[in-house]
């Protein structure tokens, strides 16, 4: 643990955007928001940032790529609330020192995507994110554990937006903060076609979507996953929201490249 902390510190001092990543061994699972009869989803092995991106990391990214500054970013890629929790000093928008280690929020999908791409990474897919997020501290599938879903729901009732990243316990994969701080962007959040506005609203609306009517029937029995599903379906890529941040993922091959360096 100390080595990890030291390593992370060294990386931060070096002024780069590098962050520890966990290797996630792929597998099959049935998404919690589908019915019990729906088919299993297969997730290939990949790597995922252990923590969400912090304000100071995002600030350093902007230092290198000024097109993503609050004053420069085209309106195609975000809205007025972009980085709205930062302050302007000497004409530069930046986080207050107390915000440095908190998860960055108020960032659009485009900005999040660019942050990851610049490092040769990408945003995790919905399937990947949910695959990792279902793990408890001791098992890859936390739903088998008594009280696991209730703990997540308790957090949804009381979000903790002003905590530093990396304070919650590791889950089975060694990943932190998937539940407890913020909601996170996913690469293909726009694949959620059901509004999820109510529990009754659980099948696709073929007036709005070109699809067979049976596509994507949702199962609201796991309410936490159903809430995430509904939240994602309400998003547009330009949105910059005060409880929505992100972390980056990569292919498992990149992890192998690093071995033996």
């Amino acid at each position: 643990m100390n080595i990890v902390t030291l390593g992370l510190l060294a990386v931060l001092v070096a002024g780069t955007l590098d962050v520890e990543m966990a290797v996630i061994t792929g597998g099959e699972y049935r998404p919690l928001y589908f019915s019990k009869n729906s088919e299993q989803i297969s997730v290939s092995s990949f790597i995922l940032d252990i923590t969400p991106v912090s304000n100071i990391q995002f600030f350093e990214f902007i230092g290198h790529t000024p097109v993503w500054e609050k004053n420069s970013i085209p309106t195609l890629f975000t809205e007025d609330t972009y980085l709205g929790h930062w302050s302007q000093h000497d004409n530069v928008w930046q986080p207050e020192p107390s915000q440095n280690q908190e998860a960055v929020t108020n960032v659009s999908w485009f900005a999040a995507q660019a942050y990851c791409e610049v490092q040769g990474k990408r945003l995790p897919t919905v399937a990947e994110w949910e695959f990792v997020a279902r793990a408890s501290e001791s098992r890859p599938d936390g739903s088998e554990e008594l009280g696991y879903n209730q703990r997540i729901l308790n957090w949804y009732a009381r979000p903790n937006l002003n905590a530093n990243i990396g304070q919650t316990p590791n889950n089975y994969w060694g990943v932190k903060d998937l539940h407890g701080l913020i909601w996170e962007w996913t690469e293909d959040f726009n694949s959620n076609l059901i509004s999820g506005e109510s529990r009754a609203d659980a099948s696709i609306d073929t007036r709005l979507y070109c699809a067979a009517a049976a596509t994507d029937a949702a199962d609201p029995s796991d309410y936490a996953a159903f809430m995430r599903y509904g939240f994602r379906s309400s998003l547009k890529a330009r949105f910059a929201i005060s409880n929505l941040g992100f972390r980056c993922a990569g292919s498992a091959d990149d992890a192998k490249e690093g071995v033996g360096d």
């Binding site: 694949s191 979507y209 070109c210």
Partner: protein, 188 residues
């Protein structure tokens, strides 16, 4: 060490690309879809940038050629819009179909489809999957691969001005979007 070096190179390339993109596209408004730097292939296998479509108004949909649900209706409704335009206005409007299934909708497949459907003068585009997603994001189009090699997707026809700004989006499955779209195209 090796990983770090790779990272620095990737990073420099990305920064350079962003700077070039800024220089090239300083002329487009901040809400123009032409700020996207993506490269596509037309049904004639011609390589074009998205911004090559600038200068005319666009009527655009994201569909795919093997789609049997609402797509044929969307395309028919776009044709209805085209038929409702006076001859003098047709040269100022481009009709564009972007494939949501670029791996199977190759230029040849798009060409066959255009001929079969009688889409004369239309632009059918196939691109990299990441660029398809990026375009869908700026147009607020949702889509998802589902069973039977189909893609469920938003039923939207988007109308853009000659600078690539969204003027209006209409439900492409509705029975008579042609009248509304015709009015919109005359606005400016």
């Amino acid at each position: 060490m090796m990983q770090r070096r790779v990272w620095v190179i990737r990073y420099s390339v990305a920064v350079l690309l962003l700077i070039i993109a800024q220089l090239l596209h300083a002329d487009f408004p901040g809400d123009s879809i032409y700020l996207l730097q993506s490269e596509w292939r037309t049904q004639d296998a011609e390589k074009i940038y998205l911004s090559d479509l600038a200068g005319k108004k666009l009527v655009l949909s994201m569909t795919y050629t093997s789609c049997q649900h609402t797509c044929p209706t969307i395309v028919s409704n776009m044709q209805a819009i085209e038929n409702n335009l006076p001859e003098t206005d047709r040269d100022n409007v481009r009709f564009v179909l972007v494939s949501l299934m670029p791996q199977s909708d190759t230029p040849e497949v798009l060409k066959t489809y255009a001929n079969k459907r009688g889409l004369k003068g239309w632009t059918l585009l196939s691109g990299h999957e990441d660029d398809v997603r990026m375009l869908a994001m700026v147009l607020d189009i949702k889509y998802k691969a589902v069973a039977n090699n189909e893609i469920a997707h938003s039923n939207l026809i988007t109308i853009l001005d000659d600078q690539g700004r969204i003027v209006r989006q209409i439900n492409g499955a509705e029975s008579n979007p042609s009248l509304m779209a015709g009015h919109l195209l005359h606005q400016n």
